[in-house]
Amino acid sequence: MITIPYLTALSTYFSYGLLFAFGQFRDFFRKIFDWWHASNLQGYAPICLGLEDFYIRRLYLRIQDCFGRPISSAPDAWFDVVERYSNDNNKTLKRTDKINKCLNLGSYNYLGFAASDEYCTPRVINSLNRFSASTCSTRVDGGTTTVHKELEECVANFVGKPAAIVFGMGYVTNSAILPVLIGKGGLIISDSLNHNSIVNGARGSGATIRVFQHNTPSHLEKVLREQIAEGQPRTHRPWKKIIVVVEGIYSMEGELCKLPEIVAICKKYKAYVYLDEAHSIGAVGKSGRGVCELLGVDTADVDIMMGTFTKSFGSCGGYIAGSKELIQYLKYTCPAHLYATSISPPAAQQIISAIKVILGEDGSSRGAQKLARIRKNSNFFRSELQKMGFEVLGDNDSPVMPIMLYNPAKIPAFSRECLKQNVAVVTVAFPATPLLLARARICLSASHTKEDLLKALEVISQVGDLVGIKYFPAEPKKQQQQQQQKQGKGTIKLE
């Protein structure tokens, strides 16, 4: 739950109001200037009508240098950020040849597979030599290799389901599967903070969409009861199918889903459960099998498990795991399987090798070490930040920790000040998050050492004092108190 100081809320609204007013004034004068000068459109309609790109032109472009920074190395714990400069107040940015080596707190590199790995990389290079970089075909034409078959079995075993199907892109997995699973006459109930891919897939399916309050099983039950009682809109016939879509870890909050309660409610009302484990697969759970293992939910209770390979496995692509009949049906109908190019064989080999390392099948205990390290890193970092007085969201054990900024001016301030001290953070603002709740999202990795974390904490604390985001009172340091007590005892003894 996000607690925001009341005065900060008022000042944030006022800041956005001011930015909005300035933007509208500039647009107004721009319209007058353009009316005087002839347009070069030659009778074609303009691509954007004034209001659609207002946010991009007047708010986003002002702080464009905080987003989309190009990097020139693998996204490991330390990486090279390319410097950019602008001559026209951030409207266009030009790259220079200089690079800064920065601490990486933004990549989804939970288990440290993003950089070259001693087990995975030789096998990936072998697979590149054998199969080449692309299959140049769809799965049904000529794009299914032995690597694809092995990958699907591997994923199904890892996740704990009878069968799995793999796609080349994670976003497409959600937006191409939901229209196939449900159509007009069905009902999709999705969490209010679900990812854009789920929202697009749900809108593309043609089913009726209802939203329940984020992570609140009681509101889900209320919405389910209301919708089942009312039936389809206008005809009031019973729904053909009801699917409830939730995520394992919500990427903007770092919170875990309340899966046991939600699964119990869905069983009671006979709705299907669709779990999107993009951020949680491989990163949480005792052996890395995701949020079901962490929360003790039987995988047979979750009907469709979806996940991506970009976060914990250092590759690309997405998967759907379910019963054999479901996967067989998807292989006949899903457009991402029938018409899209299959996943690249070296990328598939990277996933297979990463899963083998996580499960310990490569003969070493590196997988278990990585899982223990990510958990230790996340818990240590989160507790230290909270002790300093920052407002940090997210549950324990979650490697995603957003630090709340709120005010729109603090977003570029935090980002630029951290970059000056060689720490690269990702800041997120409206419309990816609600208007009030802008944040800096930190993603930890198993390849961050203790020194890296201490440096990051020091830099973030300094920048936090400068920018003014320590909204909670900091805890007094216990060591100083103990030292003062010892000195007090010492002086008494001397006297």
Binding site: T3, D53, Y55, R203
Partner: protein, 154 residues
Amino acid sequence: MYVRAVPPTDLNKNTEWFTYPGVWTTYILIVFFSWLIVLSLFGSSPGTAWTVVHLSHFFVTYLFFHWKKGTPFADDQGIYNGLTWWEQIDNGKQLTRNRKFLTVVPVVLYLIASHTTDYQNPMLFFNTLAVFVLVVAKFPNMHKVRIFGINADH
């Protein structure tokens, strides 16, 4: 003093910010401070300042609530392109708390403006016209109504 920010179930990012705590207070404070600014800039009587604030409030809120359509970003693929901001809030549900508050504010401003100018013409005429237009635009029956096709879609 801290407040809880519970994310609402509104998918429209253009209107969802209105359901968080602190919006009503900010609105009232902005109106009050603009009165102070008008008073200090023009050096007029308090009544004239309230009339100026009332009329500029009318222009600004009519333009942004009832004239401009759509959303200022392209993420939602233009689903709301035919709806004004007033028609978008609360997902189109009528007579919610937010809508009632937004209907009351122009009326209260009108009462303050007319009282402090002692109900004299010509200020009274303009003030009455402004509040009449604003309140009628906010009626539930005017949802998606375009009189004489003004501001309708192409």
